[in-house]
């Protein structure tokens, strides 16, 4: 899987020891609710996958509509619905039997809940762990709970770091004045890598006939094409800051990636791998294989033999 294609560029990626055959990663929240769907994502060619975020206790989430799409992207306010860490632990038991590495994703209202959820899930065999501190539309969580400050970032990261040795990624919000500070705080707290970014905004779409916001929670995070340039800039900022601090922590670049060209753009901004969520809607579940194929062709045309050559190529 991580063996380079004899006839093409080497698309394999090593994320703190996690080996990916290609840089596409299922982003948290798309499909990753069940083991069976993650298996399908693996079959469709993803390099790795992230499960939908899990809390200690079960959550119903917001009422529908929770996911809507407009011409420039998607808005969602799912509200962290999930069956709770115990049930998720059963769902994802022996997850390391899958053909690709799978990352856990856990959230909580405070550092203790983050750590508790991580502790319950990690024995399933997850290759690594992501902690989003950045959801813009769930009261009690993410930016609505102040998790997006450097202090909270460092504190929560430290708490989770204490319960797992597996590679730990902190997922940041694009809706902050200085994302680099947050990245450095995460590294300070013990993170091995950064996921950038979570959804933008939040945004709102109002139906004028109903005189009412469409989403059940009224507002939701923006993903897809609308987010892409902001996400690329965030990755560029984070990569620049990490370099400046001599830190080699990898970045998973997430936001609006739907083609091989987008993936390469994100990697040139400094990402080692790319997360894909909304494009499952616009290009189908086969999007992982499609992106990888396009990336392979593009690298060939541009004489890029390995992703190491591309990573950060646009940084100063």
């Amino acid at each position: 899987m991580s063996t380079p294609d004899a006839t093409g560029p080497n698309l394999s990626v090593n994320l703190c020891g996690i080996k990916l055959g290609n840089p596409t990663v299922l982003a948290s929240g798309a499909l990753g609710m069940t083991r069976a769907l993650i298996q399908r994502v693996a079959r469709s060619g993803a390099g790795a996958a992230t499960i939908k975020s899990v809390t200690v206790r079960p959550r119903q989430g917001h009422n529908n509509p929770t996911v809507i799409a407009y011409e420039a992207g998607m808005l969602n306010a799912v509200g962290y619905s999930n069956p709770g860490a115990d049930e998720a632990g059963r769902e994802f038991a022996d997850i390391d039997r899958l053909s690709i590495p799978v990352l856990a994703s856990v959230v909580g209202e405070d550092a203790g809940e983050f750590a508790a959820a991580a502790e319950r899930l990690m024995p399933c065999g997850f290759a690594g762990l992501e902690i989003p501190l950045s959801c813009p539309h769930t009261p009690g969580y993410g930016t609505l709970a102040g998790h997006g400050t450097p202090e909270a970032t460092e504190q929560i990261t430290r708490a989770v770091r204490a319960v797992t040795d597996r590679p730990l990624f902190v997922k940041l919000s694009p809706n902050v004045p200085g994302i680099s500070e947050l990245a450095l705080a995460a590294i300070e707290g013990g993170a091995d890598g950064i996921c950038a970014v979570n959804t933008l905004g939040p945004g709102m779409i109002i139906n004028v006939e109903a005189r009412e916001p469409v989403l059940g929670f009224k507002m939701g995070g923006v993903s897809g094409p609308a987010l892409r340039p902001v996400a690329v800039r965030c990755v560029y900022d984070v990569a620049t800051a990490l370099r400046r601090h001599g830190c080699e922590a990898p970045i998973i670049g997430i936001g609006g990636i739907s083609t091989g060209r987008h993936a390469l753009e994100m990697m040139m901004a400094g990402a080692s791998a790319v997360g894909v969520g909304t494009a499952v809607y616009s290009r189908g579940i086969e999007v992982f294989g499609k992106i990888t194929q396009e990336l392979r062709q593009l690298c060939r045309r541009l004489s890029i033999n390995s992703l190491d050559e591309a990573r950060g190529a646009a940084l100063q």
């Binding site: 929240g29 798309a30 499909l31 990753g32 609710m33 069940t34 069976a36 769907l37 298996q39 399908r40 939908k52 079960p58 959550r59 119903q60 989430g61 009422n63 529908n64 509509p65 929770t66 996911v67 809507i68 799409a69 407009y70 011409e71 998607m74 969602n76 799912v78 619905s81 999930n82 069956p83 709770g84 049930e87 769902e91 779409i205 139906n207 006939e209 109903a210 009412e212 469409v214 059940g216 969520g277 909304t278 499952v280 809607y281 616009s282 189908g284 579940i285």
Partner: protein, 285 residues
């Protein structure tokens, strides 16, 4: 005859890039039985708010129905006529209750139609020798199919007479009730057992309570008959992205809700387990 002639289902219609509810006026409300109503919705102002995909509608596809400030849930289109679409709602919980209280002139939001409906219908599938087997509110899903296959035998099952659907719409149908208050006493699967024994049926389409459908699929499998069933799972996005409607790795909203008997045979949760709003697995029925 093998299952092969239905084994290559067509891909679901390509999703448009927008998925936003379009607010439409209810033109007419019809009582169908003691607990169900049909809302006939005017498509007149759909032109001003593009987004619906009805040109490519196939029976079995569903729409997401939005009641502002409340919720949005999936309903099959039970009618699609010139300028009007209909959903038939069985009163179960608070949302379906609210829909059943709607009056003509009120507006609801629709997006869709989504999903893969019944396929190979009226072209390669046998007409006269096909059976359409509905149970309860499953009749809403099957009605447009029954209209496209007028030669097929329509068999409906209900608890009792006051739970029957569309008795006037499909006068020739075979009726079963659990309590014998109308039609034959018993379950519609009994009809299928006989028909299979007589060699009188060559393809089966079904929708109803999952245990009933599981029995139909099992019977067809035993008899080597092609069969399609429309299943229900909790839905959120309706467009294949959230994973909520998963049934053994298949997204019911885009790869279903209609599956072939072959597919269902490879889906161990069918007839056994579904997921609630949190994603937790719970038993069916």
């Amino acid at each position: 005859m093998t299952e092969n002639h239905v084994a290559q289902p067509p891909p679901a219609a390509v999703s448009p890039q927008t998925a936003l509810p379009v607010m439409l006026e209810i033109a007419e409300v019809r009582r169908e039985n003691a607990t169900a109503k049909t809302l006939l919705i005017s498509l007149e102002s759909a032109e001003d708010q593009p987004g619906l995909i009805l040109e490519t509608f196939t029976p079995g596809q569903f729409v997401m129905v939005w009641v502002p400030r409340m919720d949005e849930k999936p309903y099959a289109l039970s009618y699609l006529e010139e300028g009007r679409a209909g959903i038939t709602v069985h009163r179960r919980g608070p949302f379906s209750k609210r829909l059943c209280e709607m009056r003509a002139g009120e507006r609801i939001g629709l997006r869709g139609a989504y999903g893969r409906g019944f396929w190979d219908v009226g072209e390669r599938a046998p007409g006269a020798s096909a059976a359409i087997i509905g149970g309860g509110c499953g009749m809403a899903v099957l009605a447009p199919l029954a209209e496209r296959l007028p030669e097929a035998t329509l068999v409906q099952g209900a608890r009792s007479a006051d739970g029957l659907f569309f008795t006037d719409r499909f006068p020739g149908q075979v009726i079963f009730t659990d309590d014998g208050s109308a039609g034959r006493h018993g379950l519609p699967t009994e009809w299928l057992v006989e028909a299979v024994a007589d060699g009188a049926v060559e393809a089966v389409y079904t929708c109803g309570p999952e245990p009933m459908m599981a029995r139909v699929v099992e019977l067809c499998r035993g008899a080597g008959l092609p069969c399609q069933a429309s299943i229900e799972r909790y839905m959120k996005c309706g467009i294949g992205v959230c994973g909520q409607c998963d049934c053994d790795g298949r997204r019911v909203c885009v790869e279903g809700p209609v599956f072939s008997g072959e597919e269902l045979a490879r889906m161990p949760s069918f007839g056994r387990r579904r997921r609630d709003k949190t994603g937790r697995q719970i038993p069916v029925e």
